[in-house]
Symmetry: C2
DNA sequence: ACCTGAACACCGTTCAAGT
DNA sequence: ACCTGAACACCGTTCAAGT
């Protein structure tokens, strides 16, 4: 199901948008000049002019290929154009800029993530399952981390997961406002885990300056920092363990207990 | 106290390192060629050659100025060189590359953060206070967020905070391993909050595509996503509220309860 | 040892023009 | 309407040379 339900936000002029101001009223500042001045003789919605060679979907698909194959750093407008057999500037007719492309990519990916079948009935367990599902889907692709900071996600196609979390928290006794705040807390924790872990993995892969933390920990003063000195030897092993679900459970438990 | 205790990791050749392999044994891959081949006649540690015009501290200080004044995006090696009255390449004699500079910057900033005086005696409250202190220190500077992903922080000078958290969790009954995992969970939550919030703020400041989320929420199908439809009108207001401490308390409560 | 100058190999994006 | 070509205004970093 490739992003069938993802809304085409900021689609260039061809989206039959229901809200009038999204298409004509107050377009984003950057696009305003272009949209208003560039096509002075487009009097009607007729399909006039050169037929398109590539579509927005083509762009997103090609971008996803690059990112999956070679990482998000390899995604440049120039390479993307080359892969599509066009020029860099042709892309700008389909996406506003690179950041929009990244958000589109994230949406597209979230839409393709599997919705877990048979979520538990118990509210807390349901929250845990939904959060873990979106976490696992995102954590599976390391490039997500770098895109995450470009959007607070939870946009468009990931809303189903958000619904499950908010619903579960409500069923567990939280007020609607508390449930939204609870969802946000879960999202902070989840996004943070993905980002921190992805960075650590990148660091490890580069195998550059690998001994920095060890260096710091080796120089610990047991008198000043006794606890850290005590766990210094095990730190690497302990932090390498995947404890996402444990922390998630603690957070959700605390949210429900503190209602 | 400008990072007096911050270790000079990867300082170029002049650091009298105690661990032999940090200075000579296995230098990072990138630097290996340069370090091994560039100075064939440096037979002793004598201060020979041209006297330095700028120091590593100068570089970090100038970088901090730029970042504080104009944001992290304005920090380029070229501008930094201009501000220091040198050439871009002179900088590379003091820092390995730009990423190291960013990490140095983060360290430097964390070292300058105020340690809260009079931490509470109660273990849970102590954990909350320490975590909130590091959170507030980092959240005060928006550029931190972008640097955070370049390091898992908690390095060097921020260790005091880590000690407080691990100690508090231990005093609350967690095992050393549980305390480390708990600290990690708190760090995920904290880093995630800062990152997500900073991105949202950036988005708002750009006032570009401001209606995307509203657009998505306006198109919600109440039959499919009833909870979200119910809170759609209040979403912006609810998520604008600062609930970092509430979520933190829930997390810590859950960690202690689940021990 | 420390610094400079010039160059390399890129970026994202604008602008004016073509069909 | 859609695409092209050339250019702008940058990047971080390497390399060879100077003092």
């Amino acid at each position: 199901m490739p992003h069938a339900s993802a809304p085409q936000h900021d689609a260039p002029r061809d989206s039959p948008d229901t809200t009038p101001d999204a298409a004509a009223g107050t377009p984003p500042a950057k696009a305003r000049g272009k949209a208003g001045e560039k096509s002075p003789r487009s009097t009607a919605r007729k399909a006039v002019g050169r037929p398109p060679r590539i579509s927005r979907d083509d762009v997103v698909r090609a971008a996803r290929r690059i990112v999956d194959d070679a990482g998000v750093d390899a995604l440049t407008m120039r390479r993307l154009a080359t892969d599509l057999g066009t020029t860099p500037m042709a892309l700008y007719h389909h996406v506003r800029d690179k950041e929009e492309l990244l958000v589109l990519l994230l949406d597209d990916y979230a839409a393709g993530a599997l919705r877990p079948t048979g979520l538990p009935d118990d509210p807390v367990e349901r929250v845990l399952a939904a959060a873990a599902a979106i976490h696992d889907a995102l954590a599976a692709r390391p490039w997500i981390a770098q895109v995450l900071t470009a959007d607070d996600l939870m946009a468009a196609s990931a809303l189903w997961y958000v619904e499950q979390v908010v619903d579960g928290l409500t069923a567990a006794g939280l007020s609607p406002a508390q449930a939204v705040h609870g969802y946000r807390a879960i999202w902070y924790y989840t996004a943070g885990e993905i980002l921190v872990r992805a960075t650590a993995a990148r660091r490890r892969a580069a195998d550059d300056r690998p001994t920095y933390r060890e260096h710091v920990f080796a120089g610990l003063d047991p008198a000043e920092l006794p606890r850290l000195s005590g766990v210094a030897a095990d730190w690497a092993e302990l932090t390498a363990q995947d404890t996402y679900r444990d922390g998630l459970r603690a957070l959700v438990t605390g949210l429900v207990a503190g209602r």
